[in-house]
Amino acid sequence: MTADVRRPATPMEQQIREHRSLVQRALALGGGWKFILGVVGLGTLIALAAGGFLVVGGYLDGRWYDIRDLGIPTSHLVYWMQAQGLSPAVPYLTTALLGGLGILSLVGGWLVIGSWVERRVIAKFQIRQGPNRVGLFGLLQPVADAVKLMQKEILIPLGADRLLFFLPPILIFLPAMLGWAPVPWAPRMSYVDMNVGVVYVIAISSLGVLAVFLAGWSSNNHYALLGAMRTVAMMVSYEIPISLSLLSVVLLTGSLQLSQIVAWQQQYHVWLIVVLPLAAFTFLFASTAEINRTPNDIGEAESEIVAGFHTEYSGMKAGLFLAVELGNAILVGAMMSTFFLGGYTLFGLELWIPGYLILATKIGAVYFVFVWLRATLPRFRLDQLMGFAWKFLIPLAIIQLLVIAVESMVIAQSGLPGIVTVGGSIAVNLVLTFVGVRAWASGIGYVSEAAASTPLLTNTVGGLRAAERIRVVS
């Protein structure tokens, strides 16, 4: 704009103008330094490539390691241990520790990256920059935040139940981590591929509410108690649509095992979100309620009850609540990908790309949807949210369940080719989704408010009589 031409730069503008990223600073270095940096960087890359080639290509121990399936090196390790004559507990514990460490470090790293991604993406939605000071593109901002949070004093409010106040940040972390156990990252690559995986997922996801209620109750704070009551009410309501939507997945695929659900989608070359659009939507929406994200973040509605159940927590304890919130979003992304988006498969591409990378991409996509929702939507009110669950999602999910029961029998026992039976199911479910939803909505007396009233325009002024006159005219 012309406005900025004659005005001297403000300190902030000056700072932005003078800011140089690490790359720009490196490019501005003298010739000698640039040469050294280049040699070191190139040398590192060449050394890494050579090392990878040596290990993966089998030049080291005569074995060809397939990086697409991390189960192979692990099973080699187990065989080696068994060959040494160790007791069976040793390979069991070793692989358990390795897998646990792997998942923990992966999720931990994701928390760090995820908070940066969320802030940057929301900033782009809101036409601003986002964190861009600490490190390259502000990538180290989460680290700086964590350091700051750890330095802060941890306050315990007067009248708080000290033990119960101490527990929730730890308790709430457990389900967020335990939920990762049955996720299949690639064929034969999951921490525990249990045959009751879906039941386990539902059980674990309802554990979090305990910690939330403890936090709200023990804080001795009215905001916290309100937030906890809201969250408990919401989670109790939304457990049911989640379970019902997963039940239709189980009915259709005929298995409670997560790897089998993915295998079903691989077998029929179709994602379950296409076959079960209503269940997928129910799961996604109910999950946002379960993990307290917009538009259902009424448990910690900032504009109403400040921070909800974790109002009184400070320092790293508050940081843990925030991290778990993000971790839960990623976990729901993993569940959504596994149940409805084909898991680690991508229409044959999983033979060439490691399955865990495909799954990670899908998780990232679902997470992006969550961030998008947060940047776009206002919040529901508690009664609207509960009404939506009980009047809308649950009856529709039950109807869908009945339809799926018939369809799964047809798919399993009719002997017709999959393209006919599954295709027919897709058509039926699409009709059910788009017609049934509308019919049910009008059936329970819901009127779309999209036809919003626009203000009347008038050229006269006056009091009550003028107001009545205008209303009559319109």
Binding site: A3, Y223, V306, P378, L382, E449, P455, V461
Partner: protein, 367 residues
């Protein structure tokens, strides 16, 4: 064992994300439903009315900036018009046009802030607020270009305005006015068709036209209830009688209507700006008045239509350079008094949105 029923008292504020400043609500709740509301004000009281009695009329103009800090231009204008009527000062035509231009720019900036924060109160994570800040920033740039300040402008003077805008002001203003209609359409599409926002605001915090008049509501809150009352039409000051614009009026008097009335007023302000740019004559921007203006003994009540409604200045002169009495009729304070009508019986989220729709500024309430 007996159990005692205690009222569940929630103390919202003085520091709270949605009290828009330091203002306190003492809410008695029954579950999620509000049974009683106490509005406790005074945390930002700076004793302006008393301080004003020790200063000359010109020295009092900066105080009005700090009263309603989101509408400094309109507040300046209100005081200057009152003093001019008290002392019989003539204002050049160009100054009147400049006053209209800046008052309307201020209205757009203030409504952008009001609507943005209201949607944030409804739970949208600050996105609408930042979108509306985009236009507000350009308007504040225009203010800075003209008088050097962005928020507390201290621009109007008794008998005119302090500076004529610099040459680069006019192209920038025209650019802004040209792009405003498209921007307003963008906000409409973002917010108006949003089912969640409609569900949160329609039929929430309803005030009937009769209640609005009985409760002395003013500004967009009054017009949202369906009463067509705008001082720019009813009692034109400056050159508003030469402008062609319409008064938007709501249909039901709910939160959504107040929101839409503000939105529509931005569109009408853009129309006024277009006409003012086309009509503005050349000439002086100020008449010379004595440094220590001594109006004849008497009293005056001057009022303007600020972004929040009727802003009145009641001045009593005793013939000295300082006012004998300086009273401000602040729109925010009187609008706030109807919050109880809206909040009791509603749920907490509804009360927060209703408070946001009243568009209070705590500096204006407490002064």
């Amino acid at each position: 064992m007996t159990t005692a029923n205690e009222p569940y008292v929630l103390n919202i504020g003085p520091q709270h994300p949605s009290t828009h400043g330091v203002f306190r609500l003492r809410v008695v709740m029954d579950g999620e439903v509000i049974r009683d509301v106490d509005m406790i004000v005074g945390y930002l009281h700076r004793s302006m009315e008393k301080l004003a009695e020790e200063r000359t009329y010109t020295q009092n103009i900066p105080f009005t900036d700090r009263a309603d800090y989101l509408a400094a231009m309109s507040n300046n204008l209100g005081l200057c018009l009152a003093v001019e009527r008290l002392a019989g000062v003539e204002v050049p035509e160009r100054a009147s046009y400049l006053r209209v231009i800046f008052a309307e720019l201020q209205r757009i900036a203030s409504h952008a802030m009001a609507n943005g924060t209201m949607v944030s109160d409804a739970g949208a994570w600050q996105t609408p607020l930042l979108y509306m800040f985009r236009e507000r920033e350009k308007i504040l740039d225009l203010f800075e270009m003209t008088c050097g300040a962005r928020l507390t402008t201290n621009y109007m003077r008794i008998g005119g305005v302090s500076f004529d805008p610099p040459p680069e002001f006019w192209p920038a203003l025209r650019e802004l006015v040209d792009e405003m209609p498209a921007r307003i359409d963008e906000y409409y599409s973002l917010v108006q068709d949003n089912e969640i926002f409609l569900a949160r605001t329609q039929n929430v915090g309803v005030i009937s036209a009769a209640d609005a008049i009985n409760g002395s509501l003013v500004g967009p809150a009054l017009r949202g209830s369906g009463v067509p009352w705008d001082l720019r039409k009813a009692e034109p000051y400056c050159v508003y009688d030469r402008m062609d614009f319409e008064v938007p009026v709501g249909r039901r008097g709910d939160v959504f209507d107040r929101f839409m009335v503000r939105m529509e007023e931005v569109r009408q302000s853009t129309r006024i700006l277009q006409q003012a740019i086309a009509q503005i004559p050349d000439g002086p921007h100020k008449t010379e008045i004595p440094l220590a203006l001594r109006p004849a003994p008497g009293e005056v009540y001057g009022r303007v239509e600020g972004p929040r409604g009727e802003l009145g200045f009641y001045l009593v002169s005793d013939g000295t350079p300082a006012p004998y009495r300086f009273h401000v009729r602040a729109p925010s304070l009187i609008n706030l008094s109807l919050l109880k009508e809206m909040a009791v019986g509603a749920s907490l989220p509804d009360a927060v949105v209703a408070l946001g729709s009243l568009d209070i500024v705590v500096g204006d309430i407490d002064r």
